[in-house]
Symmetry: C2
Subunit: 234 residues, 2 copies
């Protein structure tokens, strides 16, 4: 039976060799929720980069450029980190460059995976179905917040691990923790996510709408996959 | 209101400055359970050291010496990491030197705390009562297993955080996770701890007895505290 592990923050990634595993990166608020939304709403590809400098270079080459630091859009870029931006505008066919505080770092630290996928509540079921069919060792990497464990990412890991159920062997105690956290929600994700420090940090109206959007389970049926440093629809 | 944080493994300790905080170190299976037991059963002091070499030096000076690596007693030492050893023998008045795979490392990484205490299920209530009375910022450091998050240490963190209840403000998402994990046990610690990878690793009869002993909540009313590199009864 394939194993399922959860790395609670990129600070612990050295303890979880990704080689030969499928890695699902998640950053619920809001990088990976944005990625699923962007590709589902017509963006052609997403190039995740670590720095705003790299992001600006790609912007000069004609990419749409999204940059977020500490929850806010960085000046001079086209977009920040709100998934709603991709519904409010028509970006069909555009290539996107993206850098975020935590999410793009988690992706860059996981690049030696055999396959790197992007997970969010927005694509939970399609992702779960795909992973069950793959029958392959799985590592869920939570992006966290500046190295700290983040409640909403662990909650997603727990939701995904719960859906995968008996098809995987639980490979570490962190996976067990995330399953128990998710079990405590009784399917009320909004009440659960309000317990997170991230929710308390970002409390203006715009962000509240983002949060409600980010927990809209199975809104999309698309899985972003890394292919030659670009995320494209699987 | 003072804050309560939980550092899930010593690998994340750099994210939780301990300066000016009370730190509770926990390594349920079995270092801190041993420490509470040893002092309660008559040991005068415990000197936690990082290496077996340091432990042997103290042994030569007349200390009783306990050394564990990968769950087993290291050859040439008086004791391993079983709390039952302190009941089966009379060590009253002896000084003990101790090195373990994870627990002593967690202590050494937390030495800049304003006060360093040792926690286990064995002394849960007395510790909780003391911390409530202190009204001071608190960091619980879980020893984990070789850098990985460990189910049973997080479970203890959740039990302690639950007991501290409304006297502390939850300072990080890891603390919230541990509270939810503990809530899921419905006070059946043995069933809970059987989910841990540690339980699965150590499955011989002797260890089973150790585990049952380590979850004997409130068996003792003593708190080990670090004082000039020695743990003594508070």
């Amino acid at each position: 039976m394939p194993s399922l592990e959860v790395c609670l923050t990129p600070e612990l990634i050295h303890l979880y060799p990704a080689d030969g595993k499928i890695v699902v990166v998640t950053d619920i608020l809001r990088a990976t929720s944005c990625m699923v939304t962007a590709l589902s709403e017509g963006i052609e590809s997403i190039t995740p980069v670590s720095t705003t400098t790299e992001c600006r270079e790609l912007q000069k080459l004609g990419y749409l450029a999204a940059a977020e630091r500490n929850g806010e859009q960085v000046e001079g870029f086209d977009l920040g980190n709100s998934p709603l931006s991709y519904l409010e505008n028509n970006f069909t066919g555009r290539k996107l460059a993206m850098t975020t505080t935590n999410g793009t770092l988690a992706i860059n630290k996981s690049k030696n995976a055999s396959e790197l996928l992007i997970g969010a509540f927005l694509n939970l079921s399609v992702l779960s179905d795909y992973l069950k069919a793959c029958h392959h060792d799985l590592l869920i990497v939570c992006a966290g917040w500046k190295g700290m464990v983040s409640y909403e990412d662990t909650l997603f890991a727990g939701a995904l691990a719960t859906k995968l159920g008996n098809s995987f062997e639980i490979g570490c105690d962190s996976a067990m923790l995330s399953i128990e956290q998710y079990a405590n929600t009784n399917d009320d994700l909004l009440s659960a996510i309000k317990k997170s420090s991230h929710y308390k940090r970002l409390h203006n109206l715009k962000i509240s709408k983002d949060i409600e959007f980010c927990i809209d389970v199975d809104r999309y049926a698309l899985i972003p996959r890394l292919d030659h440093n670009q995320l494209v629809s699987l």
